[in-house]
């Protein structure tokens, strides 16, 4: 028994020596793929000498943060979607940041009033149309349910956060029943059951499987810059929906400071940096996203798609209707 106790004690000392972190490190829980944030993070480390550690996972990081409670080592959470940011806020896992730098860089409608979360980039949920068969037409999300497009539309799974967010916005604009009628019509127009990713839908247009597809803006930008995927991208027009009324649906990627951050000062420094011109430029150039910082222009390619009108619906409204959107998807059996 004595040896057991000694063993446990030894293990604890060993583990705690591992877990001791120097003050100049920031730990990030990231829902975004590391290769997307690496360039920005690396630049920050080079400039400041502050080391950054990352855990990336697509699922469960909020849950982990919650379980770890006040002993967590995470300082910042990065997300790809507004709902995740709101989830962190609702669970009380994050804290407010009051930084003049950030507030100056991020427009008010793209951050939480109290500073519990901030958007870093925005992305549009675009509609893509076949150059050959449809041309560059004005189209709205509502049109996706129009019977004239029966058998002509491709999309990824309805359960994907990007689709869920779009449906939430439809609920916000048309009410639950209105959105349900729309989603049923949309489903009836599908050329195939929802599958694949956003790029896959554009490829399907190129191959003639459908004429209309839904997809985020930056995927299109990346396809244009990839030699092998360019032919598919060249076969479609990128359309900004609902330009005649409320504007295109946008979503954000964002960040939040954890409630129990042990290195708050440095963490806020990084958050400020991420909204600053340098980091925002990398986001714009490398990831083809729209920077939130108005002083930073989108990449030339993204800019070439033209100015557009964005839906001014509050980000929090999208998150608010998320569960209703999920129920709706189940009720119309969108993915089945």
């Amino acid at each position: 028994m004595k040896s057991l106790i000694a063993l446990v004690a030894g293990a604890i000392t060993l583990a705690s020596s591992f877990s001791a972190m120097s003050a100049d490190e920031i730990n990030i829980y990231s829902y975004r793929q590391p290769f997307l944030i690496d360039p920005v993070v690396k630049k920050f480390s080079d400039d400041t000498g502050i080391k950054i550690n990352v855990v990336f996972a697509k699922k469960g990081l909020a849950e982990r943060l919650q379980r770890e409670g006040k002993y967590t080592k995470a300082d910042i959470v990065l997300t790809t979607d507004i709902s995740r940011l709101m989830e962190l806020q609702d669970k009380g896992l994050v804290q407010a940041v009051d930084s003049k730098v950030i507030n100056d860089n991020v427009p008010a409608h793209l951050r939480d009033e109290q500073g519990q979360w901030f958007a870093l980039t925005t992305r549009v949920r675009n509609i893509y149309t076949s150059k050959e068969r449809l041309g560059n037409i004005a189209i709205s999300y509502e049109d996706l349910a129009d019977a004239k497009y029966q058998g002509k539309i491709c999309t990824r799974s309805g359960k994907h956060p990007y689709t869920v967010a779009l449906i939430s916005s439809m609920i916000a604009h048309h009410g639950y029943e209105g959105a349900k009628t729309w989603l049923n019509g949309f489903k009836n127009n599908l050329a195939r059951k929802p599958q694949g990713n956003d790029r896959g839908q554009i490829k399907a247009i190129k191959q003639g499987q459908c004429d209309i597809a839904l997809g985020n803006s930056y995927y299109f930008g990346k396809m244009v810059s990839d030699v092998k995927q360019k032919p598919a991208a060249d076969a479609v027009h990128i359309v900004f929906p609902n330009q005649n009324n409320r504007g295109a649906h946008i979503n954000v990627s964002g960040m939040a400071l954890t409630k129990y951050s042990h290195n708050k000062a440095s963490a806020i420094k990084l958050m400020e940096y991420l909204t600053g011109a340098l980091a925002q430029k990398i986001y714009a150039e490398v990831n083809m996203e729209y920077p939130v910082n108005v002083a930073v222009k989108p990449s030339p390619l993204v800019a070439s798609w033209g100015e557009f009108k964005a839906d001014t619906l509050a980000m929090s409204a999208i998150a608010l209707h998320r569960k209703a959107a999920l129920r709706l998807l189940d009720e119309v059996k969108f993915d089945l």
């Binding site: 877990s19 290769f35 699922k59 849950e63 982990r64 770890e68 896959g200 003639g208 129920r327 089945l336």
Partner: protein
């Protein structure tokens, strides 16, 4: 017969099995929470469809794996045909191939936008999908085929081991008594191998049940989809836990039914290892058709996906190459090795307890410790996190009580968490495999040993351990290979900056850009191949 074990053995058995069961218990406990009618809503809408899909996929993969695994195992073990020496180990190789790679490669190849259909359209002048019929990969049957391609080796491996361990004299006697090769297979070899095959099929079923990557990729919503939807979408861990508990219960029923089916049977073998197997020397069309069958399976399950990976790696070498590969490989290797050792130690502990104590409840620890395999990885990870973080909070609480600086997250934030997650998940493989081996040893050996006044502990080390060595080895390697490929648990439980080959590949797969992770995927396969070669050598001896 009743053998008095010393007290520590049963105590340790119960302790470890309960520790392993703790995460599952945490999930079950969660399932009693308020689920805000999410479960009811699902039941009224999509759950029936998901259930049907799940049943179809699980039973489909189980049956198809049997149809591929058992015949090949028997041909390779008992027959002589062209290329046998190659197929003996080649048929194992798909084990090293992560299922998401196979799924990715084949959807890319066969979907509408893929090269096969594109070529067909060009060749025949078809313009749209309406002009011709082509099977849709992203269906239930597609998912069944993909999962079978990576999972049949379980059946092949365990069945072949069982066939090889059968005393050839039994089959020889049957043949002398006038039965045909087919009859001797059906009436002697197959029933004798049934326990091992049953273990293999239940492993396949559990792995299928826990799969998310392939069914998600194939747009076939199953119970696992529902688990993730409820948890991540609706934010209800309670409903997710309830679904997981249901899945476990269903699996328990299935496995118990199979056990019941052979509860009256007892087989013990006395293979001395000296008898040489006389293989049926097949000729002509019979022999070549077996060769063809093996070639097709090998090409589909391994050669083609591997070639595709190599092609991708060459094409995208610049984006693919990462100087930290070596570090990732070392991480993967160390992790897999530790997990394999721990799993085998636990398997030996529990199965030996079950054997010697011989009472009904003594089988419980082994059963308890085997349940984790069927849980979807991320859910299991949360299950692991619950007790570990409770422990961490407790420890830190004590330190704080004495106004000391606590050690922080010593279990939940470190490698310990990943190892724990893997052990909970893969203990079933080790237990199943070791148990099957141990069961083949006749109890008369135990009796003889004990009559000679040897203590049970000494008997374990001197008699049983050498006899189940092969089974242990098989089990260790299976756990090793699975650990190399395992993803969700590592992803969620890992410490900062800790990257394994699998987690590294995943960031690209999750963006459907396997091309950029192809090189790392190749390393996973290659590292998995090394133990497979060892495994095969030990089996052939």
């Amino acid at each position: 017969m009743y053998i008095r074990l010393n007290k520590k053995w049963p105590a340790l058995s119960w302790l470890f099995s309960l520790l392993i069961f703790l995460p599952i218990l945490a999930i079950v406990w969660q399932s009693f929470g308020d689920d805000q009618d999410v479960f009811g809503h699902l039941w009224r809408t999509v759950l029936p469809d998901y259930l049907i899909n799940t049943l179809l996929v699980v039973s489909g993969v189980a049956v198809l794996s049997l149809c591929i695994g058992v015949p090949i195992a028997w041909f390779v073990a008992m027959c002589q045909f062209p290329g046998r020496a190659f197929f003996v180990w080649a048929m194992l190789l798909p084990l090293a191939m992560p299922s998401y790679v196979v799924a990715f490669v084949y959807t890319d190849l066969l979907e509408y936008a893929g090269p096969v259909q594109g070529w067909l359209r060009q060749a025949f002048g078809w313009r749209s999908a309406q002009d011709y019929w082509f099977f849709d990969v992203r269906t239930v049957s597609g998912a069944i085929v993909m999962l079978t391609l990576v999972l049949y080796p379980y059946v092949y491996l365990l069945a072949r081991t069982a066939f090889l361990e059968q005393s050839p004299s039994l089959v020889q006697s049957a043949r002398m008594l006038g039965s045909t090769p087919w009859q001797s297979f059906k009436r002697i070899s197959l029933p004798l191998a049934r326990p091992a095959i049953a273990v293999a099929v239940s492993l396949v079923a559990m792995e299928t049940l826990a799969d998310f990557a392939v069914v998600h990729y194939f747009a076939v919503p199953t119970l696992t989809t529902a688990v993730y939807d409820t948890w991540l979408g609706y934010g209800s861990l309670a409903a997710a836990a309830r679904l997981s508990a249901l899945m476990l219960a269903a699996l328990f029923v299935l496995i118990s039914l199979e056990r019941l089916g052979r509860s009256k049977q007892r087989h013990y073998q006395r293979g001395s290892g000296q008898e040489k197997i006389q293989r049926y020397a097949l000729r002509g069309i019979k022999a070549w058709s077996i060769t063809l069958f093996c070639t097709v399976i090998f090409a589909l399950a391994f050669a083609w996906p591997f070639i595709t990976l190599v092609q991708m790696a060459v094409e995208y070498f610049e984006q693919s190459w990462n100087p930290q590969f070596i570090q990732y490989s070392i991480n993967s290797l160390t992790l897999a090795t530790i997990v394999a050792f721990v799993c085998i130690a636990i398997a030996l502990l529990l199965t030996f307890f079950k054997r010697l104590a011989q009472s009904g409840y003594a089988a419980m620890p082994a059963k308890l410790a085997s349940t984790g395999y069927a849980l979807p990885g991320t859910v299991l990870a949360i299950g692991v996190l619950i007790p570990l973080s409770l422990f961490d909070h407790g420890i830190n609480g004590i330190f704080e009580y004495f106004e000391q600086q606590g050690p922080g997250l010593i279990l939940s934030g470190t490698l310990f968490a990943i190892v724990a997650g893997y052990v909970v998940r893969f203990a079933a493989i080790a237990i199943g495999s070791v148990d099957a081996s141990l069961n083949k040893i006749s109890p008369s050996i135990d009796m003889a040993t004990l009559t000679m006044g040897v203590s049970p502990l000494k008997m374990f080390f001197k008699v049983h351990l050498p006899l189940v060595r092969k089974g242990c080895f098989v089990a260790a390697l299976l756990v090793f290979i699975e650990s190399m490929k395992e993803l969700p648990a590592a992803l969620l439980l890992r410490p900062f900056n800790y990257e394994t080959l699998a987690t590294y590949v995943y960031q690209f797969v999750s963006d459907e850009q396997l091309e950029h992770g192809a090189l790392a995927a190749i390393v996973i396969v290659l590292v998995g191949l090394i133990p497979l070669i060892f495994l095969n050598r030990s089996l052939e001896k």
